[in-house]
Symmetry: C2
């Protein structure tokens, strides 16, 4: 149902490959837009990454990953911001239009969720300032509640909309089917985000039932229980016309033949998105 010209892929979907090999894979299959991760870009080198992307005619749909302010512990927001500035530099050098932003979870060794929310919001305020000169949108991604402790105190699209609204210009949200499909307020949240022109990216993937791992058992579209076309319809109605980015964390799929897996992903994209 989704047209292939709206296809993008997040390189985590092929995490078993080095970035250079992933770019070659995408080139073989005619993929035109990807979202790489900062650690893989650093590994390949910025200049080499740029050269290979240009040679393959591949643009960036986005860049991963900003945020995670709590990771360095209470009182170390400056350390987290330094890391975020390096991510901004890489993203800007590669021409990324947006950066996927996970605001971070609980502060290591602490249980105060209210404080963690304030801490992450304070981090976002500083990051918005830092990002402004680059002209890159920060896309806040609400993560599934099961990722709260380590990754994100923002767990619903309503909260992501609230944060984006309070943070102002330069901030959007990322709608990921895996993270949000359970939410009774999802349709409403997509409408609200669309009306504000705030949908910075969309991730598609599926929830397997039963699921064997909290982190690394996502499915390809159509393998699981998410009604992706329904969510796609809400995105259409909200005016979102950007790329639909496949993002799959899966030890099973990372271990598969990557050409066959990408070919199947492209086919499933047309049938199940």
């Amino acid at each position: 149902m989704a047209s292939r010209d709206r296809f993008a892929i997040n390189t985590i979907s092929n995490n078993s490959l080095a970035l250079g090999d992933a770019i070659a894979l995408y080139c073989r299959h005619g993929v035109r837009a990807i979202t790489p991760w900062d650690d893989k870009v650093a590994e390949l080198g910025l200049a080499e990454t740029k050269r290979r992307l240009d040679d393959a005619g591949i643009a960036l749909n986005g860049f991963c990953l900003a945020g995670l302010f709590a990771k360095h512990g209470r009182g170390n927001l400056a350390v987290a911001l330094d890391h975020n500035r390096r991510v901004l530099d890489l993203a800007a050098a590669l021409g990324a239009p947006m950066i996927v932003t996970c605001v971070g979870g609980l502060i290591a060794g602490e249980r105060d969720l209210d404080y963690a929310r304030r801490y992450a919001f304070e981090g976002m305020q500083a990051l918005v300032e830092a990002a402004r000169p680059y002209g890159i949108t920060l896309g806040i991604e609400p993560l599934h509640p099961m990722y709260l402790p380590e990754w994100s105190v923002v767990t619903t699209i309503a909260e992501a909309n609230d944060w984006a609204e309070r943070l102002g210009a330069g901030v959007g949200i990322v709608v990921d089917t895996y993270h949000t499909w359970w939410d009774p307020a999802l349709a409403e949240g997509i409408r609200r985000a669309g009306a504000a022109g705030r949908i910075a990216a969309v991730h598609v993937n599926d929830w397997l039932s039963p699921t064997s791992d909290v982190l690394l058992d996502r499915g390809m579209m159509g393998e699981g229980v998410i009604d992706i076309p329904k969510i796609r319809g809400w995105l259409d109605d909200a005016g979102f016309a950007g790329r639909l980015e496949v993002e799959i964390f899966s030890t099973r799929l990372w271990a598969a033949d990557q050409d066959a897996y990408l070919a199947e992903t492209l086919q499933r994209f047309e049938e199940h998105v």
Copy 2:
């Protein structure tokens, strides 16, 4: 912080024991209230369960488990209701004041979440009728969103409050720290439930970070990242004065020495609830 006279335990916390052995364990440690599961009661026999509970001076805090309407497939609501009536009979015979009710997830092989929500609500309407003559409260338990496909389309305390309100007399909600701690609207939901006299049960336990299993890796209170005393404070403020029931699904703890584990649980109950 919690007084031991408010302690109750769900027998799933000692799932490696047969119900008779679990009752003996609880008796040795002075536990006064438990919540058993229908399959374990059936295994021991209703009369024998009743005799052993009476001999041990143990009352029921609740009974598990009603609901799960989608489990038998679309069009088989009558089968699900027959099973629920048998659960009601057992609970009534043992004098349980309430039954923990998980409304059920997606219909097997289907992806229509809206339909699954309507189907579960229809099941609840029928169950409320069936339960009325028994005078037993049905406590709707909102489950963590990661359990949606198999167990519950109701994933937030706001939804549970809405359902209980629409279903009317005889319906309450169950607040479980593990299922609800991530929810930005939890405090508000507890206030609302308390104001309506609708808190039918409270489950305490902890979220381990990182967690190794979706289903069977809960922690004892204080082992994880949930600020249980803060949630306890909200429950106090909402007027909840009932027992605080420990419910732990954990292969690690089920494999431990059960006397030492229960002794530690009782100590942690006083220190971390």
